[in-house]
């Protein structure tokens, strides 16, 4: 009953008899029929109004979720900060010019070398640069031309779709499998026991090609078709249009993509363990003999962990030298990766046409 009263009251307030409550209907028949045609039922909104308690509860829930999300963020930051901090703090201890300019030959246990250091990563830096350069020389032309094929020649064709799918499959290949592949390839073609830097380059390029293809495709796609048409309309051939207009316009993005791809593979360890190998001396020849790379060096020194200093060794002997070298090399590696990332992003930011 109470409900009913409320309804009538609302109706009277609104001066629009929309629900055919008897009394109102009798009072003014014409008006009711008129109004009911135009308006239909009027819901009682006061019924739907959320209670204050509910509102508060919802607001609290929202705040709690904000807290949870913030907490997730904090949790995620802890490892990053810890990792960077430890690497820097423990890495700087052995990081000096001597460490960067000598290799590991002549290093005996924890004893200092004649040069006054405890061995270094010169050979590993050279190895990393050469192996990565080799991977780059393979994957950039192949990846870029493949991207050109996908965007400029075969947009949407079945073969192109199949290739795109395969690129994605390839980008999912675990790095260790890429290493096994390069190892098998060289073992079968060149005979067992072959191990050289170039083998590592091949393994890395399996990992790098899909990254280069994907980033280049993305960059070529955002080159407006207007520019291609403008070039064609000037009587420029397709290949020249692609090289001089499309590639030129997309260049900053492509370069940035390549740099980021390098940053990704430069830290690869597992595939290089089984392909490029590990030696203590400097090897400049990419195509012959084993080659140490920085990540492999980090791992090898980590697995040595420590050396024993004989009792008569004197104060120059450092028992924990391998792990100290490992951290220092890790710091160098992290610095290289971060600088590459930064440069990659800067290139895109500073030189991209859209940004201007």
């Amino acid at each position: 009953m109470k409900e009913n009263d409320k309804v009538t009251a609302t109706l009277k307030d609104a001066q629009a008899g929309t629900i055919a409550v008897d009394s109102v209907a009798k009072a003014s028949n014409a008006m009711v029929s008129n109004a009911s045609q135009s308006a239909g039922p009027t819901p009682d909104f006061s019924k739907f109004k959320p209670s204050n308690a509910l509102l508060k509860q919802r607001e609290w829930k929202s705040r709690i979720m904000a807290g949870v999300i913030g907490l997730a963020f904090v949790i995620a930051m802890i490892p990053l900060i810890s990792l960077l901090w430890t690497t820097i703090a423990r890495g700087v201890k052995r990081l000096n010019l001597n460490f960067l300019t000598f290799n590991m030959s002549g290093v005996i246990g924890g004893m200092p070398t004649p040069s006054g250091g405890h061995g270094g990563i010169e050979h590993a830096i050279i190895g990393t640069l050469e192996v990565t350069l080799g991977a780059m020389l393979i994957s950039v032309p192949v990846g870029l031309m493949c991207a050109i094929y996908l965007t400029e020649y075969a947009r949407g064709s079945k073969f192109a779709k199949a290739i795109s799918l395969l690129v994605n499959v390839m980008s999912g290949i675990p790095s260790i499998v890429a290493g096994l592949f390069a190892f098998s390839l060289f073992a079968i073609l060149m005979g067992p026991g072959v191990s050289n830097g170039f083998e590592g380059s091949v393994a890395l390029s399996i990992l790098m090609i899909p990254t280069v293809v994907n980033s280049s495709v993305e960059m070529l796609r955002i080159v407006p078709d207007d520019l291609r048409e403008a070039s064609y309309a000037l009587g420029v051939t397709k290949s020249r249009t692609i090289v001089k207009v499309v590639l030129r316009t997309a260049l900053p993005g492509i370069v940035s993509g390549v740099i980021l791809a390098i940053a990704r593979v430069i830290g690869e360890t597992a595939p290089l363990l089984m392909t490029a190998g590990f030696i203590v001396t400097t090897n400049w020849n990419l195509f012959s003999g084993q080659m140490t790379t920085l990540p492999v060096f980090v791992y090898q020194e980590y697995s040595k962990m420590s050396v024993t200093c004989p009792p008569n060794a004197g104060p120059g002997c450092v028992a924990s030298i391998p792990s100290e070298r490992s951290w220092a090399a890790a710091l160098v590696l992290i610095a290289i990766v971060l600088v590459l990332n930064l440069v990659g992003r800067l290139v895109q930011h500073l030189f991209s046409v859209e940004a201007k």
Binding site: L227, A230, L234, V353
Partner: protein, 259 residues
């Protein structure tokens, strides 16, 4: 000097879809011919067949003939790339090359084709083309600045300069003013009037006042219904087209009753 274009029984297909049907058209040398008509009637499509630009769209093909001064552009062995050097094109949206300066944009047609050009020749050509596009006085002090730094109207005139710098016989313009403000539009229209001394000009426009202002001849394209092929409904000199059209559909369109 410009050259005449004769279109004979031209059908344009996109895949299996017949987009434009049986166009016959004689475009006079050193005159401005405007293509008008409702959206989707195929006027831009026909324009793009005149320099074989439609072929860029996958699956696009034509039947029939387009004769440039009597030479069939679609004859066997004709190189579309060579065709486009004789038939220049200006697009709806100004599209200067963003990586190039104003000067490089003008020289793009030559440089992109790897033709060698001496510095003095290049200077001469740049000035000639930019003067021809009524742009020289505005940009002569900043030729090495990027072309995309110019205003919309200036960019469009830069694109015209770029097109004339390869010295074509014909200039095709696909709604060149549709993205411009009235003052820039006027500048481009003045330019078109001057350019017809040296080139045959074909212009697609949505703006009938513009067609009336700049064109000597006007072709009215129409389509029977959406999804049906477009066709050339009526072609005459511009005065007749706008004052006394001998075609009911054209009259209806021009008087603003549809389209």
């Amino acid at each position: 000097m410009g050259q005449r274009i004769d279109v004979e029984h031209l059908n344009v297909y996109y895949g299996d879809f017949l987009a434009v049907q049986d166009v016959n058209l004689n475009i006079q040398a050193n005159k401005v011919t405007a293509f008008i008509g409702p959206s989707g009637c195929g006027k831009s499509t026909v324009l793009r067949t005149l320099d074989r630009m439609h072929e860029i769209t996958p699956g696009a093909r034509v039947e029939g003939k387009v004769l440039l001064d009597g030479h069939d552009l679609y004859a066997k062995g004709v190189d579309p790339v060579a065709v486009r050097r004789d038939v220049g094109m200006v697009f709806q949206k100004a599209n200067p090359f963003p990586t190039m300066s104003i000067r490089e944009n003008v020289l793009a047609g030559i440089r992109l084709n790897n033709r060698h050009i001496s510095k003095s020749d290049a200077d001469e050509l740049v000035e000639w083309a930019l003067r021809g596009a009524n742009l020289w006085n505005e940009v002569k002090d900043r030729l090495d600045k990027p072309g995309i730094g110019l205003s919309g109207g200036q960019q469009q005139r830069l694109c015209i300069a770029r097109a004339v710098a390869v010295h074509p016989q014909v200039l095709l313009m696909d709604e060149p003013c549709s993205a411009l403000d009235p003052i820039s539009t006027l500048a481009v229209e003045d330019l078109i009037n001057e350019l017809k001394r040296d080139y045959t000009i074909v212009i697609v426009t949505h703006n009938m006042q513009q067609a009336a202002r700049v064109a000597d001849y006007t072709a009215f394209f129409n389509l029977k219904a959406v999804g049906k092929p477009g066709h050339l409904e009526y072609f005459s000199d511009t005065t007749t087209m706008f004052n006394n059209p001998q075609n009911e559909e054209a009259e209806r369109y021009i008087s603003g009753r549809f389209g």
